[in-house]
């Protein structure tokens, strides 16, 4: 499904200019992959590179054997859905507007409402609301995830979906991921959360821009939690 070949990402200056250092990995269709690792290990940069938000310094990205390394975000969005770690706010754009854009066509309020219900939000309370700073961080995050779930994509990438979400909503989120897994969607999640790590078919641990180890939750979870990775 997705193959990264020798991905490097470097920035000029700074204490560590090489953010990603020869990352190679294969994501199988219908698989659930969790990428974890300490802060600053390059996880979000890797997610950005998969979506086309950042361009790798060297290396190739193949999606279904097609080289997409130089494809822009818009073209990649036909196949890849991406959830930002920090939800974006807009003035004048409503939740309903965003879900329409995400769906790629005008959808009925009832259909848009279903996407909100999936993340535990009542459509009557939220569809007409602007996506602005009158919404809490948790509400914005759930709307962000709903917009991604509305995408007709082949691959779903979530960058720290648990960030800013309260415990009750987090349990809802786990249900959403379980449902996606059951539906055999191809999923990559950047996460530190044990409940999300446990859902993985494969866990990839990044450290200092390199893949430190790969494995199943059974083989890696004890190591990760023992080493107290992440928040």
């Amino acid at each position: 499904m997705l193959e990264l070949k020798n991905i490097c990402y470097e920035v000029k200056g700074g204490s560590r200019a090489k953010i990603l250092d020869h990352i190679s990995l294969r994501i199988k269709p219908g698989s659930f992959t969790v990428i974890t690792g300490p802060n600053g290990s390059g996880k979000s940069t890797l997610a950005d590179i998969i979506m086309g938000i950042k361009t790798p310094t060297t290396g190739k990205i193949l999606l279904e054997d097609k080289d997409i390394t130089n494809q822009n975000i818009t073209k990649r969005a036909k196949d890849i859905a991406y959830s930002f770690q920090q939800p974006v706010k807009f003035k004048g754009i409503t939740v309903y507007d965003l879900l329409n854009i995400a769906s790629g066509e005008l959808i009925a309020p009832e259909e848009a409402g279903e996407h909100l219900k999936n993340v535990g939000l009542n459509p009557d309370d939220y569809l007409a609301r602007e996506i602005n700073d009158k919404l809490s961080g948790g509400e914005l995050k759930r709307i962000e995830i709903a917009s991604v779930l509305a995408r007709p994509a082949k691959l779903f990438v979530f960058d720290e979906p648990e960030a800013g979400i309260d415990l009750w909503s987090f349990d809802n989120l786990i249900k959403v991921f379980k449902k996606l897994k059951k539906e055999k969607k191809t999923i990559i999640i950047i996460s530190h959360q044990e409940k999300i790590l446990k859902l993985a078919d494969e866990i990839i641990i990044l450290e200092k821009g390199k893949i430190k180890s790969k494995g199943t939750p059974n083989t890696l979870l004890k190591t990760i939690t023992g080493e107290n990775h992440g928040a």
């Binding site: 979506m51 938000i53 975000i73 818009t74 974006v88 807009f90 003035k91 754009i93 995400a102 790629g104």
Partner: protein
């Protein structure tokens, strides 16, 4: 009412007088003005629309207790070189609730400037509520300017409320908007301004709101987009003479080589006056564009969505 296509386009755009794609004369009271003359006028049982005898303009009188009625008084200029000043006075009876739809559009296909100065004075009675919608629009291939200078004066008597929705859609080469208001006790003035400039257009919005009455409140919110080489100035002064609350906000998106100047002023004459001003001027946030691109839009489509939403 005989109108050419340009005049119909103006009225449909600024006054929403449409039935599908076609122009339609609205129900209720109205006065349609084209190139300095009234081309259609109607009064109703509760709303009297009468031309002034000493100068150009109208006296519009709304009977006390009038509810859920509308008045349309849009203006179209479809000839080059027209310069007019129009004085419209609104006498809003106590306990009434009405919507007033004004607006002006200029089609200029010639070399000479066309100018409309609209001077609107509102005398709002006790317990009355008005919503005033004014849209401005310009188009046409001529070198002559499309110039609109509205002056709005609002006088609110106790317990009354006014909502002003003021929008410059596009195509207006130069505008100076002056809005003044004085508020009696327990009154409320809400201003929602939307402004779009492009090319080498200039726009100046000047507000002066005087909160005289106890518990009077005002909220002036301006959102604008400045494109190309256009220049905008926003000046908002709120004067608090009593226990009152005032808020003004200027939120502008700058594109290309455009400029926006925000000059807020708060003048509290008593410690019980709570006055706030907020201003934010900047380009379209790159994360907004990226988010919409991840949902399948091109960069241009994303910018357009952001602009249209912002000016909604």
């Amino acid at each position: 009412m005989e109108l050419n296509d340009y005049e119909k386009e103006i009225f449909c755009t600024v006054a929403g007088t449409t039935n599908g794609d076609d122009f339609e004369v609205p129900a209720g009271a109205y006065n349609f003005r084209v190139n300095g003359k009234s081309v259609g006028r109607n009064s109703t049982k509760n709303i009297d629309v009468k031309p002034k005898t000493d100068k150009s303009g109208l006296d519009i009188t709304i009977k006390p207790g009038t509810k859920n009625e509308q008045v349309h008084i849009p203006v179209a200029i479809s000839a080059t070189g027209i310069k007019e000043a129009v004085y419209n006075d609104f006498h809003i009876g106590d306990n009434s609730e009405v919507t007033i739809i004004a607006g002006c559009g200029i089609y200029n296909c010639g070399p000479t400037d066309s100018v409309h100065d609209g001077i609107h004075r509102f005398y709002i009675g006790k317990n009355a509520k008005i919503k005033y919608i004014e849209k401005h629009y310009g188009f046409g291939p001529g070198r002559g300017g499309k110039i609109l200078n509205p002056i709005t004066e609002v006088h609110l008597k106790e317990n009354s409320e006014a909502i002003l929705e003021l929008e410059q859609i596009k195509g207006v080469d130069s505008t100076i908007r002056k809005t003044t208001a004085d508020l009696d006790k327990n009154t409320k003035l809400i201003v929602k301004e939307r402004l779009f400039t492009h090319g080498r257009q200039t726009a100046e919005s000047v507000y002066e709101v005087v909160l005289n009455g106890k518990n009077s409140t005002t909220d002036i919110a301006s959102r604008s987009i400045a494109q190309d080489l256009s220049k905008q100035t926003f000046k908002a002064t709120i004067i608090g003479n009593n226990k009152c609350r005032g808020h003004s906000e200027c939120d502008a998106i700058l594109m290309d080589e455009a400029e926006v100047h925000a000059i807020p002023a708060l003048d509290a004459k008593t410690k019980d006056a709570e006055l706030i001003h907020e201003a934010a001027i900047g380009k379209i946030a790159s994360d907004q564009i990226k988010k919409l691109m991840t949902l399948g839009l091109t960069k241009k489509q994303a910018e357009s969505k952001i602009i249209n939403g912002f000016l909604r």
